[in-house]
């Protein structure tokens, strides 16, 4: 379980997050939504101790990341797979080595097992046969999926996804959404999905957290979105739908209008 208590964070004079508290329950998929620049990525980085809160605490499995020693922090981090918004692939290595990297450092697999696992992860993200390509030779969406394959390679207990479907075509987006659901259902992974894509939220999330104006404006089960619990949230959700232009996603949300 990831528990965030009264977290506040700013950069210089810019206040980004203000007194945020919530928890990510074991086995659930929590979507974090909010405008661009609302602090979603910043919030996600706090969950693995990449950023330190100005005030407040982040607990992972009962351990406070802020006070953990570096050695302990590293142990905790091994429970996580993280997909960065920009992919953060190692550009000196080819695709295969990128995905094999965590396996080589942190698993006891033999080299043929590593190879098999890398192929498996690549096929999970629909990218068979690109292993020999360098990240610079891939498209943006492909890079994102390679990064996703790297994040899931070690079958972590927690996976943090920063905009897993941004820049992907609708069909590939669906594959990724299904992969996220599959990992959480079959392998009981606890997931945090930062996204703009309401379709992703509706298909893969159990609960939704909405960041607005430095605050955690609303958090609740994804089904509650149908009841339009909050005007600001409702405006955000509906704006996304127009943007998405997907009638199937908008039908259940607008049925009462």
């Amino acid at each position: 379980m990831i528990r965030i208590e009264h977290l506040s964070k700013g950069f210089g004079s810019l206040e980004v997050l203000n007194d945020i508290s919530f928890e990510v329950r074991d086995g659930e998929t929590l979507a974090i939504i909010g405008r661009s620049g609302s602090g979603k990525s910043v919030l996600m980085k706090h969950m693995v101790g990449l950023l330190k809160p100005d005030a407040g605490h982040v607990h992972v499995d009962g351990r406070d990341l802020c006070c953990a020693e570096y050695g302990e922090l590293r142990k905790l981090r091994k429970r996580f797979g993280v997909l960065f918004q920009g992919g953060a692939l190692f550009d000196s290595m080819d695709t295969f080595d990128n995905i094999a990297f965590p396996l080589e450092y942190f698993s006891d697999l033999t080299s043929s097992e590593v190879e098999a696992r890398v192929e498996e992860c690549l096929s999970l993200v629909n990218l068979e046969g690109v292993g020999a390509k360098k990240p610079s030779e891939l498209s943006g969406g492909m890079r994102k999926r390679v990064a996703l394959a790297r994040a899931i390679a070690l079958e972590p207990q927690y996976i943090l996804y920063d905009e897993p479907t941004s820049g992907l075509d609708p069909e590939t987006s669906n594959t990724i959404d299904q992969l996220i659901s599959h990992l959480s259902d079959e392998l009981n992974v606890t997931s945090v999905v930062v996204t703009h894509d309401m379709h992703s939220v509706l298909t893969s999330a159990d609960r939704v957290a909405f960041l607005h104006d430095t605050n955690l404006h609303w958090i609740g089960p994804v089904d509650a979105l149908h009841d339009r619990p909050d005007p600001v949230l409702d405006a955000f959700v509906r704006a996304s739908e127009y943007h998405l232009g997907d009638p199937s996603a908008s039908v259940p949300l607008t049925q009462d209008s």
């Binding site: 142990k75 981090r77 091994k78 920009g86 190692f90 965590p102 450092y105």
Partner: protein, 253 residues
Amino acid sequence: MSSLLEFLFSPLRALGRYSILMARAAASLDEIRTYWSNLFDQMVRIGIDSIPIVSLAGAFSGAVLTVQTSYQLESPFIPRSIIGSIVVPSMMLELSVVVMGFILAGRVGARIAAELGTMRVSEQIDALEVMGLNSVGFLVLPRVLAGVLMFPVLYVASCAIGIGGGVAVGHFGGFITAGEFMDGARQFFKPFDPFFGLIKAVTFGFIVTSIACYKGYYTTSGAEGVGDSTTEAAVLSCVFILVADLILAVTLL
């Protein structure tokens, strides 16, 4: 007022952060086995790949020094062998190692700063960290160690080829034979000279790689930041090479 304080304290803050980074690198020495292949990789990139340029610089500085010394000492009362007695210690003590340090500040230092800086701004360092790797042990330690280990090797190459360049230019230019040159060199040879050169090489290796790692590792704000780090790494390395050169000369000679 506060900006003045900021101006005065920022070098101190930089020194503090630099020291902490180096302390973290030293603390990850016990994991060096995990990063073995990185160390080997860096020794090749920093050391072996620099041999051509360092040799070239060594050869030319040795040759020029010989020609100029011979010009300055053109007199029937001075034995020609004195040229060897001057050129060889000058190469060993100062010229080959400082010229090499400057060249490597550009070649090695800028490269490290650009590489780590790019990794920082594209979140690759964060990606290493969240995997549970110690990014300082993985990135900084192998580079600094490789610098400390390989600069002396490069020094030996640069110095030997530089002296060779001096002999060659003296011989073919017809103003001193190889025999006279080496006689002169032998006459005033002190075993401490090459040893002192090696100490300088180790020091410069540490200066160039550690400053570059520091600048690269703490890069902020995008492509511009990477550019700044790269330039600053090269310039700062040169400045600190000069400072260290003087300090070593004053304390050890």
